[in-house]
């Protein structure tokens, strides 16, 4: 879409930047990528009062133009790269009126880049409540830029902001904040001269950030490097001096424009809540209750919509089978593509519900308190206070949980969280475990009240959490962090969540999942469909021939005949052949080729195991599938020894395999989406497969 003016939204975290973005653009927004990095680029459109179209780009929240993470480095890159077609014509800086001092640091840095700027003074209502009075006219006069008081939450002042955007100057008129050239005068002059930069602050920033920004040529980079050496430039000392100078400017600016109450209210509302929510005992109790509620909600609230989506797709598949002529193309469309699409869509309820919760936790400010409380504990195992939510969410489903790791700023902590989250027992493992436990664990009570099957299942859940923590601890030593680990974090004041933000977040995350991870999932389902429905050579034709003989038609009912054909075809399909091929490899785990086929077909999703077992053992009926699968598997005998196939050792070995193996194409796809690099899903797949094999091998040999 073409736009008449490009506007960038810049501001500190927790200033209501995203709220303003949503208010300005509505649902008219899309998420893309910044080239080369794993940062989402949020762009939306809005019509100005004069009829022109403005493209609004929401830049990641940051406290300073000096980046501390990859997200934050985008801000300077977008603002400073004059050759980029996405460089904004105008920057709208959102300042929290109730906390101007710290917010103004970023303003003064961006203003000194001499891009046209408008200040949106957000949270005016909060400032009023705290008895802070701001002389907006004087403030605007001292800065030399338009200042629009707004309250994005209450949608107040947004029209005035749009008007200000449409009247914005094409050239920067703001007053200088500090004397930039005083910081490193000779070097700044030299860089400005050689790179033809007319702005001293931009020249200084190039000296600080030339190693991370991508738009400088190698020759320019080398020159800056050489000039830094020549004038013995110390980046950190220079930055420190600059920050002190900027705060002096800010104090001078606020001195006669902002009046705060003389006696600070020592017991604010937020403090009172914190006394309870971060209390030594009560704090953990409440947090545990919140997590349990979240987990229950993802589990139970999503059950109905998921069943609805699944049955809608089954209906579509059945109808298409009736409408379209039978043949390989129809089968590809219905059993491959549409089945894959169903596998994508079915995740939406869980994603939407988890992100509703996360959005509320973030919006209210509770997430920062969770990090505050859990940091010490989680740091010991190489995780972050914020890793708790994805790990617990992983009990429902790893896919939305991995998407939620995005709010972990530290790269290493985030990667470890992503790597271990799929180890936690997700809901797709539940049918596999229930089936296998029912096969080998007696349905009996021990110590009067504990059901043995229930104990085994609980054991699997606890075991999964322990293994995730142990693996995280190991990765803590393997992964090399690029950033020095530190924890300097704002604890924002408690606020009511904004429900429209919650809805946006549910919509935006679901959409991102469907469009970005969806492709991989559909591709994998199509491949698996091909593998399960075609066989090498004329094997399939021979099966059809054999079963069309009169003896079968006479002795078997039509139903059991078609089941026998399906079963025979699956055995002779590529998946079946592969099952035979891998049998020597999985034999030490106690698995035969039939289990091998199930392992292959359930690569797309673990719960497919049950369905494949049903086909292999040609189970009839779908209503009581679980029970009938159970019976068939119970009766299954090893043809050589005559012993049951599913012994205690095999069943537990299989459960261990499913506990560790990455049998989930959706997780692989979403890890790729979140890391934008195939290396991470590959590492994850490799370590999980190795662990799965080892754990199964040990389990089988111990119990045999």
């Amino acid at each position: 879409m073409k736009a008449d003016i490009r506007v960038a939204l810049v501001g500190n975290p927790n200033t209501g930047k995203s709220t303003l973005f949503n208010v300005l653009t509505g649902l008219n927004q899309k998420i893309g990528n910044f080239p080369g990095v794993t940062v989402d680029k949020k762009v939306g459109y809005c019509t100005l009062p004069d009829g022109r179209r403005a493209e609004i780009i929401d830049l990641p929240g940051t406290y300073s133009i000096y980046p501390k993470s990859q997200d934050e480095s985008i801000v300077f890159s977008v603002l400073a790269d004059k050759t980029n077609p996405h460089t904004p014509d105008l920057v709208v800086i959102i300042l929290d009126a109730s906390n101007l001092k710290r917010n103004l640091l970023l303003y003064s840095q961006v203003a000194d880049l001499k891009i046209p700027v408008i200040v949106a003074l957000n949270m005016m209502d909060m400032a009023k409540k705290a008895d802070i009075t701001i002389d907006v006219d004087l403030f605007a006069k001292k800065l030399g830029v338009p200042v629009v008081p707004i309250s994005a939450r209450k949608v107040e002042g947004v029209d005035q902001l749009k008007t200000a955007i449409s009247f914005a100057n094409k050239i920067a008129l703001q007053e200088d904040s500090i004397d930039v050239s005083a910081i490193a005068p000779e070097m700044v002059a030299a860089i400005s001269r050689e790179l033809h930069i007319d702005n001293p602050y931009l020249a200084l920033q190039f000296a600080h950030q030339h190693e991370t920004i991508t738009f400088l040529s190698p020759a320019e980079n080398e020159r800056i490097e050489a000039l830094e050496k020549e004038f013995s430039f110390n980046s950190q000392k220079a930055q420190g001096a600059e920050t002190i100078a900027r705060y002096a400017f800010i104090n001078d600016l606020l001195y006669d424009t902002v009046k705060k109450p003389v006696t600070a209210q020592d017991e604010t509302f937020s403090n009172k809540i914190d006394k309870i929510l971060t209390h030594k005992v009560l704090g953990f109790f409440i947090f545990f209750a919140v997590l349990m509620f979240m987990f229950q909600a993802i589990f139970s609230w999503s059950a109905y919509p998921m069943a609805l989506i699944a049955s809608a797709f089954v209906w579509v598949q059945d109808s298409l089978h009736h409408i379209l002529p039978a043949g390989p193309l129809t089968s590809l469309l219905v059993d491959g593509v549409i089945a894959g699409l169903s596998g994508v869509m079915v995740f939406i309820p869980q994603i939407a519900i988890l992100f509703a919760f996360i959005s509320i936790l973030e919006d209210t400010g509770y997430m920062s308190r969770v990090t505050f409380m859990m940091d010490k504990l989680m740091r010991k195992v190489g995780l972050n206070g914020k890793s708790v939510v994805p790990l617990i969410g992983g009990f429902a489903c790893a896919v939305p949980s991995i998407m939620s790791t995005r709010n972990i700023e530290n790269w290493k902590d985030r990667m470890i969280t992503i790597l271990v989250t799929p180890l936690v027992t997700c809901s797709a493992r539940l049918p596999v475990y229930t089936l296998l436990i029912a096969l080998v664990v007696p349905n009996r009570n021990v110590w009067w009240l504990f059901n043995m099957q229930g104990l085994a299942l609980t054991g699997m859940y606890v075991f999964s959490l322990v293994s995730a923590i142990v693996v995280a601890y190991v990765f803590k030593f393997i992964l090399k962090g690029k950033e020095r680990g530190y924890f300097i974090m704002e604890l924002p004041v408690y606020r009511m969540p904004r429900w429209s933000n919650v809805l946006y977040s549910m919509y935006e995350r679901s959409k991102a999942f469907v469009f970005q991870a969806g492709k991989v999932i559909i591709a994998v389902s199509v491949i698996l469909w091909v593998m399960a429905s075609y066989g090498p050579g004329d094997r399939f034709a021979k099966i059809d021939q054999r079963y069309s003989q009169a003896q079968y038609k006479q002795t078997m009912s039509a139903d059991s005949l078609s089941r026998a054909i399906s079963s025979a075809k699956l055995e002779n399909s590529y998946a079946g052949v592969l099952g035979h091929v891998i049998e020597p490899v999985i034999r030490p785990l106690g698995f035969d080729w039939k289990i091998g086929i199930a392992l292959i077909t359930s690569f797309a999703a673990r719960e497919v195991f049950v369905g494949t077992m049903a086909t292999i053992y040609s189970v009839n009926g779908s209503a009581e599938k679980m029970e009938s699968v159970y019976e068939k598997m119970h009766e299954a005998k090893n043809p050589q020894t005559g012993q049951p196939v599913f012994t205690l050792a095999v069943a537990f070995s299989l459960m261990m395999f499913y506990a560790f193996a990455m049998q989930c194409a959706s997780t692989v796809a979403v890890v790729y989406r979140e890391t934008k690099n195939w290396r991470w899903p590959a590492i994850q797949f490799a370590y999980m497969t190795v662990l799965a094999y080892a754990a199964s091998f040990i389990t089988y040999n111990l119990l045999k």
């Binding site: 906390n99 000392k237 409380m373 924890f487 974090m489 704002e490 604890l491």
Partner: protein, 71 residues
């Protein structure tokens, strides 16, 4: 006196920093020399701590608070 030595409710004024890299980050967050600081609370497990500085609440680990020298 270091910031990490303050108890809950105690106040101090920032004098200087012992770690250059950390000082740059702390100053950006409004934790500058001459700025008054109050320890608001300590996390249930004893680390990190929450302080009031420049009109808002900031949390940092004790190890980081140790780099802040008070007047």
């Amino acid at each position: 006196m270091r910031l990490s030595q303050l108890e809950v409710g105690e106040t101090g004024i920032v004098k200087e920093f012992t770690d250059l890299e950390m000082s740059v980050k702390l100053m950006e967050m409004g934790c500058l020399p001459g700025e008054p600081i109050k320890v608001e609370r300590i996390a249930p497990l004893g680390d990190p701590i929450a302080i009031n500085v420049s009109g808002y609440q900031l949390s940092l680990r004790k190890r980081e608070a140790f780099t802040i020298v008070l007047q």
